[in-house]
Amino acid sequence: MSHAVIIDKAVKRYGDFQAVNGISLTIKPGEFFTLLGPSGCGKTTLLRMIAGFNTVDGGEIRFDDSVINNVPAHKRDIGMVFQNYAIFPHLNVTDNVAYGLKARKVPNAEIGPRVMEALKMVQIDHLATRKPNELSGGQQQRVALARAFVIEPSVLLMDEPLSNLDAKLRVQMRTTIKKLQRRLGITTVYVTHDQEEALAISDRIAVMKEGNIMQVGAPEEIYRKPANPFVANFIGVSNFIDCDVNASGGKAEVTIEGKYHISMPANQAYQGAAILSARPEQLFLSDKGIPGVITLALFLGDFVQYEIRLENDQVIELNEYTKDTDSTRAVGENVFVDFNPRQVSLYKKDSQEVLSC
């Protein structure tokens, strides 16, 4: 049975440095949950706290109703996939996968069929007698996966399992992992710094920065409605444009560079400096909008990537899909940049609090 993982104000300290800063999360049973963030944000630390390799210095971690703070790693009923696979180099594929079952004193008659079934699930049953050094990186990763779930854990942890694979294999493996997780229904906590991978694979994502959670939500939610500029810039690419806002009654009047006025929906009353966050594909070239000059035009096949210098010398990025236009604009051309006010996000300049809804 898979458990819910409840993290309640969890803290991890290294001397004066707080690597995990009182994080609270509720991961539902059977959910594919991803901890996403740049290196040093505490995501691996938090995962290792769930695994039992790091102590919990404050708060608690629960599997369903039982607190596991002081339960040793091997009694937490966890399967784990490590970044460098950590498969035993001196054992062949079968023995590697069987290791956990043997250590758990599963009857011998049961071990063989269970190992074979796990190997079939990750499609390496034909390599059962090979040694790890005779396997490719992707195959080794599959062994690590099989070893993690063959013990039928109630929680599966993965620490950047795909980061040592080449780009093509990474895409292939993440589909395999996703399908496998669906089929097994094991609660999975996945750590990655690759935002595309996180978007593709997760049911929900927690974006982390410096030991804090910046936003928790479904992939589409955190992409479309980032809660703050950090998330907007970490998930995908965002242009940040300074503006002035006068918001009241659910409506914000936005003025950009004192020239371009546009009205947007707002979640609160506010008056003052703000940041408008727009993704390259949310901006388009128009006959009205923010004036600028094209400084670079890269034709990339399905879209053209423009760099446009605004009048305040800020350079923004804009993508125009090839199918939407007949020709590429020339460098040096004066253009207007426009956007759909319901798609972009608006943040208070000082507190970085979200204004748009």
Binding site: G79, F82, N84, F88, G100, A103
Partner: protein, 283 residues
């Protein structure tokens, strides 16, 4: 044309001719005594004196035959063999257990323990001979192989702990974590994961200690006078009399005693080099 010549000179350069010349000369210097030793064992006694460096004019196996006919010879060999096997086993067993602990549970205390072991590499054990003699006497271990085991184990442990700790430390921690997560206890991880993975380092430690233990004369000379507890090398010294030396017998027993060491070294030299360098490149 020019390219061809360049390739040619590169190939010649890769042969490292000067190094090879030096190494050949060096090998010759080291091998020469061994060669003299071997050929002289096939000579009759008189010829050793008249023709020490040349090949035997009359080949004889008499020296070996008489040596093998001597029952004591087997006792000496058995003793030497026992001393080496038991000491090496204990050095490897205790050393790897100790290294496993020191590599993984690093505290201020473990740092002190590690330093204590490494200190043993710098202090020659022979300076403690008189104390050891007293201890062995009080323990009633004189004239017994049991006086040699603890001394040799103590001699071997510092290098064993030093080499093995570094080696175990170089193994990726995820391997232990994976094993731990799979429900293996610490001893199971040691036995199932660590030991197989440090085999090259164990071979290094074994060879490194094999020769000094096998060839040690000092401690048997001091602790042992009883005939049935003598080691090979101790027996050899008895052949070297004050007025006359039984050269054929002496050389033959020396040749025989070198044989196991040379064989083992040749068998394990590949692992030996692997173990020495593996610790070096893992950062």
């Amino acid at each position: 044309m020019a390219k061809e010549r360049k390739l040619h000179s590169l190939r010649v350069m890769n042969m490292h001719i000067p190094y090879h010349i030096i190494m050949i000369i060096w090998s010759f210097i080291s091998m020469f005594p061994v060669w003299i030793l071997i050929i002289n064992t096939f000579k009759i006694r008189k010829e050793i004196y008249t023709n020490p460096f040349g090949l035997p004019k009359v080949w004889t196996l008499q020296n070996y035959k008489s040596l093998l006919a001597n029952a004591n010879f087997f006792v000496y060999f058995r003793n030497s063999f026992l001393v080496v096997v038991v000491s090496l086993f204990m050095i490897l067993f205790l050393g790897s257990l100790c290294a496993y602990a020191l590599a993984h549970w690093r505290t201020r205390f473990s740092g002190g323990v590690y330093f204590f072991f490494v200190l043993g590499m710098m202090l020659p054990i022979k300076i403690a001979t008189i104390r050891l003699l007293q201890i062995m006497k009080n323990l009633g271990l004189m004239n017994s192989l049991f006086s040699l085991y603890p001394v040799y184990i103590a001699m071997g442990l510092p290098t064993a702990v030093f080499i093995l700790t570094e080696f175990i430390h170089g193994l990726p921690t995820e391997l232990y974590e994976a094993g731990f997560m799979d429900g293996a206890g610490r001893f199971r991880i040691y036995y199932n994961i660590v030991l197989p993975l440090i085999r090259p380092a164990l071979a290094t430690v074994a060879i490194y200690n094999l020769v000094p233990i096998w060839n040690d004369l000092w401690f048997p000379l001091i602790f042992i006078t009883k005939e049935d507890q003598k080691t090979v090398l101790l027996a050899v010294t008895m052949l070297q009399g004050q007025y006359s030396t039984d050269w054929p017998k002496l050389l033959t027993i020396l040749a025989m005693s070198a044989l196991p060491v040379i064989t083992l070294y040749l068998l394990m030299s590949k692992q030996f080099v692997k173990g020495l360098t593996a610790g070096a490149v893992k950062g």
